[in-house]
């Protein structure tokens, strides 16, 4: 920029300026060297008795190392002096004394040995061999060793560490900087300063020798093992050194690279040590073959039990490799890889889940093997028996084999189907779910046709088909399978159930099963927006439930579960009508459909009321009462919103009386909805209080509060609109504000509940998602209350939660939620920009808004592309509109001076 030649009139020459800069630098350097106590600017400490200090070699965390001459022997030695002053607390001194004590016990050609120690002028020092060499990392940089030579050197290092291990000494701070290589290429391990005596037993935290009281971590982070990073001193043992050696080997092989990122924020580094899988060394250096990689990765196993147990074991395997013998370390098996994949999701229960999957796999395999064994045995026996050999013997054998088979089948069945439910909402369990599903299908394939006429087995089989169908076509539709596949399984379930009913037509439970299957089928139709088919199925389901109840009553059986099934189907009728009305574009037709919705929910409510009045009071009946009330509220909410459809056109046409009338009607519906919602919230609260540990009931309460919040928001919006567009005045605005404040209170209560659930079980993704939903609605209300900064905070939090969720479990629903959060933030950005005064600030907000709009648009489009039903058009339109708004405003700003 500044150039004297082009600016001859510059008052001062380059030379002058250079001199000034150099003088200033010199002055500052003098000041800083003083602070840093750089070797050149500070004399070595006063002569230590018996030694003559030549120069400083190294300045480390614990002290300074000098080159010295031992006066009596004229030998050159390294002399380590503890930092004095502010760095040398009693802790440091104790550590120093321990270091000396431990080092004195070690005697190995590749370990730097100690000769003497003492104090001088309050400073502690000790004397060790002086090794002329360079640290391992520097050595590796210059030496350019082949993989085999590298391993040879590493083996020696392991041998030395092992010698210490055999004496019960753990280094705890192994790293290239602590390993010196002399001119002959011999390694020397330094700084056993952090080592501590391993007792070989459980550590006694109060042991006087232990410097590391609970919670303290001693070592260098990039080379630390997971147990060191966790800071649990009692868990540090020889295997921790093996891990550090693994990191060292990794670096030796890859030119200094670390297995994972070890720079940046400390939390991230700790997290990487604890959880990040090492990048495969062979991807960094091609010469690293499979076996060497296996050795490295085994040393770096996060799980201590899967590592080499001592440095000696590691050294031996390296020796095996160098000698061309098979190594002992084995590649992880497929199942272990799955287990690891699961673990990566940091699930507290993840290990348990992974373990159970192993069992599932085992159970399934066993059951198939047994089946085959049965068949083989059977065939063999048939061949042998030839009619005259002991039929009885064959019979016994067959029975025994079948008993085995049944046991295995039970096990497999339990794990496949019950276990799935357990992990369904577990975060990160996607792979596990999919795996179980695949296994379940294989299982069904395998046992197909073998059920014979055993009713119990047939029924189980039908259940299994239904389960698979549910999963394929249900919640995860679009992710893990297709509707067609689901329907095929449902058909098979239906076929079997009808077969069973043919065998015992008066069995109430079989009718109920059939009803439930048909209900499940209706759900699939519902999701494919085929409401007619859904309606047919649900009505068929109700008919089956009616039959079941009639039969059960005649047989004097318990009606409660059957009535509950019927209730569910009745609610289903309302749900289908609700969806149909919601999807109907024509306002008049939609309003007409709403009557149907209200009737259906009302029928369900009356049935729930009857159940509650007739049966013994139970949580379940209460729950259903709450659910049906909530549904009624929802239906009225829909009626209200359909009433307001097209009201903007009415206003544009200046027909204010008609607009007013519509708003009044809508508000009336909303107020009815509010009344039901308040009741349902009260009931949900009671139920939740009765079963505090039941997540589903807590969630009902959450849903009820969310619903009430939603209704209050709509009421507020209607009043707002009246004030702004029709003829309302300040009281409308005040009413809107009051209602929004109410909604805020209600939503915050819902949020608190959701947060409690999420905190209680951090693996519960649905609960975490609920937190996100609340935040979104709260942000929305705040947005409309013009509390833009608060809205921003809530929405940002919502986005970040949703980002996390999507990273763990990218099912379409979660991705859609994530996109919605972006969309809202985009809206907020526009609003903030509009409210801002300065052009620059506006520009910033609009640009942020544009980014969010783009993110939501991209996500919505991707979702629409993936969706088999081509849904999502309206979300795309909204996002496009928002984007256009942002772009327009930005363009306007550009146009301004």
């Amino acid at each position: 920029m500044t150039n004297a030649e082009s600016q001859p009139d510059d008052a001062r020459s380059d030379d002058d300026r250079d001199r000034d800069m150099i003088d200033a630098a010199r002055e500052q350097a003098a000041k800083l060297s003083d602070v840093l106590r750089l070797p050149s600017s500070r004399p070595p400490p006063d002569a230590l008795p018996g030694y003559e200090i030549l120069r400083e070699l190294h300045r480390g965390g614990q002290g300074v190392v000098y080159l010295a001459i031992q006066k009596t022997t004229k030998r050159r030695v390294a002399l380590k002096v503890m930092h004095a002053g502010e760095f040398a607390g009693p802790k440091d001194r104790a550590r120093f004394e321990r270091e000396v004590e431990i080092l004195g016990q070690l005697n190995h050609p590749n370990i730097v040995s100690i000769h003497d120690c003492g104090t001088s002028g309050g400073a502690y020092f000790y004397v060790m061999d002086y090794i002329t060499g360079q640290p391992l990392d520097a050595h590796m940089k210059h030496a350019d060793l082949s993989v085999d030579d590298t391993l040879g050197l590493f083996q020696k290092i392991c041998g030395a560490v092992n010698a210490a291990h055999l004496k019960g000494v753990i280094h705890r701070d192994l790293k290239p900087g602590n390993i010196l290589i002399d001119s002959d290429g011999e390694p020397y391990i330094l700084d056993f300063g952090l080592a501590k005596i391993a007792t070989g037993e459980v550590m006694d935290e109060s042991h006087p020798r232990m410097m590391t009281v609970t919670g303290q971590f001693v070592g260098s982070l990039p080379w630390a093992s997971p147990e060191q990073a966790e800071g649990i001193p009692g868990r540090i043992d020889t295997r921790s050194d093996v891990y550090s050696l693994g990191v060292v080997l990794y670096q030796m092989l890859t030119g200094g690279k670390f297995p994972y990122v070890v720079v940046g924020n400390m939390r991230d580094i700790l997290d990487n040590i604890l959880r990040a899988e090492p990048a495969r060394p062979s991807t960094i250096r091609r010469q690293v073959d499979d076996e060497v990689e296996t050795i490295v990765l085994k040393s770096l196993s996060k799980d201590r039990d899967r590592r080499y147990q001592t440095a000696g074991e590691l050294a031996r395997d390296v020796q095996h490799y160098l000698a061309g013998e098979p190594i002992e370390a084995k590649r992880d098996s497929g199942w272990y890889v799955i287990k690891k994949t699961l673990r990566r999701y940091k699930v507290a229960t993840g290990v348990a889940a992974a373990f159970l999957i192993l069992i599932v796999a085992f159970a399934i395999t066993m059951s198939m093997l047994y089946r085959r064994a049965v068949d083989a045995e059977h065939d063999a026996n048939l061949a042998l028996s030839e009619a005259q050999t002991a039929r009885a013997a064959e019979q016994t054998q067959r029975e025994r084999a079948e008993a085995h088979f049944d046991a295995a089948r039970d096990l497999a069945h339990t794990f496949i189907f019950d276990f799935h439910d357990e992990i369904e909402h577990l975060r990160g369990a996607m792979q596990a779910r999919e795996l179980i599903l695949i296994k379940a299908q294989q299982y069904l394939e395998q046992v197909k046709g073998e059920a014979g006429d055993d009713p119990a087995f047939l029924r189980e089989l039908a259940d299994a088909h239904e389960k698979v169908a549910d999963l394929r076509g249900g919640r995860f539709a679009g992710m893990t399978g297709t509707t067609q596949e689901a329907m095929a399984h449902f058909d098979e379930a239906l076929r079997i159930r009808r077969l069973l009913l043919g065998l015992s037509p008066d069995d109430a439970s079989l009718h109920a099963d059939l009803g439930n299957t048909r209900f499940s089928i209706s759900l699939v139709h519902r999701r494919s927006h085929d409401y007619e088919a859904a309606r047919d199925e649900v009505e068929a389901a109700i008919a089956e439930h009616d039959t079941a109840i009639r039969l059960a009553r005649a047989q004097g059986l318990d009606l409660t579960p059957l009535r509950e099934d019927r209730l569910r189907a009745l609610v289903g009728v309302g749900d289908i009508a609700n969806l149909k009305a919601f999807g109907e574009d024509d306002r008049g037709a939609a309003l007409a459909m709403c009557d149907e919705v209200l009737d259906a929910y009302d029928a369900a409510y009356r049935e729930a009321r009857r159940c509650a009045d007739q049966g013994a009071p139970s949580t379940t009946t209460k729950h259903w009462l709450g659910v049906t009330l909530e549904k009624k509220a929802r239906a009225l909410l829909l009626v209200g919103s359909i009433t307001l459809r097209g009201v903007a056109d009415v206003i544009d046409a200046d027909d204010l009386p008609e607009a007013r009338a519509r708003y009044d009607r809508a508000i009336g519906h909303y107020l009815d909805a509010e009344a039901f919602a308040v009741q349902s919230e009260r009931i949900a609260a009671e139920v939740a209080a009765m079963e505090p540990a039941d997540f589903d009931y807590q969630r009902d309460l959450f849903a009820a509060r969310l619903q009430l919040g939603d209704i209050l928001t709509r009421i507020a919006q209607a009043h707002d609109d009246l004030a702004h567009y029709v003829d309302g005045g300040d009281d409308e605005l005040a009413e809107a504000r009051d209602r929004r404040e109410q909604a805020l209170t209600c939503l915050r209560r819902a949020l608190a509940g959701a947060e409690r659930s999420a905190n209680a079980d951090e693996t519960n993704l649905r609960a975490i998602n609920d937190v996100g939903r609340c935040l979104l609605l709260i942000g929305d209300v705040l947005l409309r209350l013009d509390r833009l900064d608060e809205a921003g905070a809530e929405l940002e939090r919502c986005l970040s939660i949703r980002e996390q969720i999507v990273a763990i479990d990218p099912i379409p629903q979660y991705r859609r939620d994530w996109a919605v959060a972006h969309y809202r933030l985009g809206q907020l950005g526009v609003k903030r920009g509009d409210a801002a005064d300065s052009v620059n600030v506006k520009l910033g907000y609009y640009q942020t808004a544009l980014t969010h709009a783009d993110a939501s648009l991209t996500a919505f489009r991707a979702l629409a592309d993936e969706s088999s039903e081509g849904a999502g058009g309206s979300t795309i339109r909204f996002a496009e509109k928002l984007r256009a708004e942002c772009a327009d405003r930005l363009a306007q700003l550009e146009g301004e001076p």
Partner: protein, 207 residues
């Protein structure tokens, strides 16, 4: 290497600052030309060669004791390397500054948080534990260290890292180019890391 230069270098390495000043004065014009070329048109508006030179000189004084003379041209090569590194830091951060790093703000400006954030940002290769810092016991020490930094380093840390001002603001306050702010900051962080201790040191994770 001329006889004079050779003797100047060996004096400088031995700690003679006068000799080093003389050497730097000799090499300054070449450095200025090289830097101007390397900065080019793309960064001319945001990086000033003299800013880079100033920091390079400071580092030369700080590091001369570690320099190993290796015959003709070795001092010039050493000095060029320092200058190149400095320039690279300036430009690296400038390109990054276009997409601001959210973690740059190390906490509420001026508060205790900002010190803790700074310690965290300095990374793992330091002695003093961030959580110990969080407990407040190391904050005093950190503050003392910052106060002892060369003035420019200190001001950049205070204005940018602790007070949370923008790079352009800091540049204006220091009357430097924005590139210089990033370069000064990188060097200041190096210094702090050194003051806090090297990677070979222990540190406490919790306590």
């Amino acid at each position: 290497m001329t006889a004079t230069e050779e003797s100047l270098v060996s004096k400088a390495v031995a700690g003679d600052h006068e000799a080093l000043s003389e050497l730097l004065q000799q090499h300054a014009p070449a450095m200025r030309r090289k830097l101007a070329r390397a900065i080019g048109d793309a960064w001319r508006s945001s990086v000033d060669a003299e800013d880079v030179m100033q920091v390079t000189f400071l580092e030369a004084f700080l590091r001369i004791n570690r320099f190993q003379p290796g015959g003709a041209g070795s001092f010039s090569a050493w000095l060029s390397r320092i200058a190149e590194n400095n320039l690279r830091d300036a430009i690296k951060w400038l390109s990054r500054a276009k997409r601001p790093d959210p973690r740059r703000r190390v906490g509420a400006p001026g508060g205790e948080e900002s010190y803790v954030g700074l310690v965290e940002m300095l990374g793992a290769s330091m002695t003093t534990p961030s959580r110990a810092a969080a407990r407040g016991e190391a904050l005093g020490a950190l503050e003392k260290m910052i106060a002892e930094l060369p003035t420019d380093y200190e001001r950049v840390i205070r204005l940018y890292d602790l007070e949370g001002r923008s790079a352009s603001e800091v540049a204006e306050l220091l009357d430097r180019s924005p590139g210089a702010v990033f370069m000064l900051r990188a060097r200041a962080h190096d210094c702090l890391r050194e003051l806090l201790g090297s990677a070979s040191q222990y540190f406490t994770v919790t306590g």
